[in-house]
Point group: C2
Chain length 315, copies 2
């Protein structure tokens, strides 16, 4: 008991005994056992993070944000790569809920209410990026509509009038929201809307390269790519064809990946503040864990327009 008090910064112990105990622990190489502690305190000082792919910059930054916040608060992080597979997600969730963590941050795969109802009854959880309607839990995400509005408005202001779009898949919420913003901005500016210059894709570099040709042949004066990787594909095509960016073609991306500023023509894009997303999610979760009264929070962050040169200099 005295040892326990010495190691847990209790004030019910004299400074002298405490020092003696601490020294003895060091000499003997004694370390407390977290499992035994967990068993009685019902707390693990661990958080689970379920993400699609740690190899993707967007998710890596979110993880870093989570990790750095947790470190400050004395929590550890269990990382689970779902690989965008529902089944992996399920298995990790199962693993985590064997009393391994005090809470879970999840970037879910095709979330459905039923998948999480059981879990949130026992384990605090915050969802990030994608939400399942009807769940009474906290949610943190980026405002895709806002971000796309910013960048499309910028393009319009720069004088572009025939803006081609390379979207992601039809089932991607992010992609659909950005598309919605595109339509609204065009309408607000009385610009003709033409579905022939809107293309769905898998959002890869190759898609950017291939769809660029398609769009340019249809006479677009600029392209809004669903992400920076796709924009890289477009830029590559233009480079090979001698098409000057931004003079012959305006180009905008999304995500602000590290390399976007290193492109031959630095890319105008949207920064989603991924690290912040991670930090906020972690903060909400830790608060929820430590407070008895749970208050659901929904935080939708405004991403930030990053103006570089691919749509012309700002003026």
């Amino acid at each position: 008991m005295t040892v326990s008090r010495a190691l847990n910064n209790s004030k019910e112990i004299s400074q002298k005994t405490k020092e003696k105990v601490l020294k003895a622990c060091k000499d003997l190489g004694y370390k407390p056992n977290s499992a035994a502690k967990s068993l009685i305190t019902k707390t693990t000082k661990m958080i689970g993070l379920v993400i699609p792919d740690i190899t993707n910059q967007y998710y890596a930054y979110i993880s870093k944000g989570v990790s750095s916040y947790l470190e400050k608060k004395g929590y550890g992080l269990i990382l689970c790569n779902s690989d965008r597979k529902k089944n992996n997600e399920r298995e990790y969730l199962n693993f985590l809920t064997e009393g391994r963590v005090d809470g879970i941050i999840i970037l879910p795969v095709e979330p459905k209410k039923e998948d999480y109802e059981q879990i949130i009854m026992h384990t605090p959880m915050v969802m990030v990026d994608n939400f399942a309607e009807g769940l009474d839990i906290s949610f943190v995400a980026n405002d895709n509509y806002y971000g796309a509005t910013q960048i499309i408005e910028h393009m319009v202001k720069q004088g572009y009038r025939k803006i081609g779009v390379i979207l992601g898949s039809k089932s991607s919420t992010a992609s659909n929201e950005r598309y919605r913003a595109y339509k609204d901005v065009l309408e607000k500016n009385n610009i003709d809307f033409d579905t022939n210059i809107i293309i769905y894709s898998n959002a890869t570099f190759e898609d950017g390269f291939n769809k660029a040709e398609y769009l340019i042949n249809r006479g677009v004066d600029s392209i809004f790519a669903i992400n920076d990787t796709v924009a890289m594909g477009v830029m590559k095509y233009c480079y090979l064809k001698g098409i000057n960016i931004p003079k012959d073609l305006g180009l905008a991306g999304y995500d602000n990946i590290e390399q976007s500023s290193m492109f031959p023509v630095p890319l105008t894009t949207v920064d989603q503040n991924n690290k912040l997303i991670g930090e906020i999610s972690a903060k909400i979760l830790i608060n929820q864990i430590n407070e008895k009264s749970f208050k659901k929070e929904t935080i939708i962050l405004k991403p930030k327009l990053i103006i570089r040169k691919s749509c012309g200099e700002d003026n």
Copy 2:
């Protein structure tokens, strides 16, 4: 006890009881408590991974390799971003060794024997990338000398004779090994060695951009950059100056980051098989945990030359 047997695939139980128990568990939402289990089995089914920065592609891929191997073996992963700070590393190590993990994979920060001696007495550990001499533990890394030899030889074969080099910091083992390879290849091919076209740097994009000018002014016919990001900087400089790669200047990188194939001129580089590094490290660790007899292993992987277009097409 019967429940325990049902949940642990014991054969000392009838099929019928087992099914009944399993069903009851499901109905009641019962989940076993891993802490209680740990306490008695002295095993956590958890591995700690200490890496410098999850945001860096190189480390992200290593993490993914570790994670995917562990998943197959039913282990969880505790991720610790040391942020290249010795102090963070120490604190994470301390946290992990409170009986939280069955083993540790570490990419150490300026490793010294003394930092790990205590730990490896109690906890299986494998070191990756950087080794501390005198430790009796397994080690997994890339052969930097070999990788650089491959790419410099390729450059020589392509006809380049005045190869400028942008290195990393003087204290980086990886950088020093690659430099050593450079010198040896030059000597073997009777090419003059000129320290005026060797520069140390912080290995950033900006360094690439700035040092490119310096080297080109000194008449190099090609540049070997310490990594792909630095190479991107060089490429940017060339783009702005209208210098044609590979005709006017050969360019080689190292790492094979995802974007290196998307550059205006696809980059010739060296792939280090990072995911494999992670998988192998995890495999060695798990083996060490499960075998009573510990056999130290040292695995130095041969990286692979990736020939693209920045040093001319292969012939």
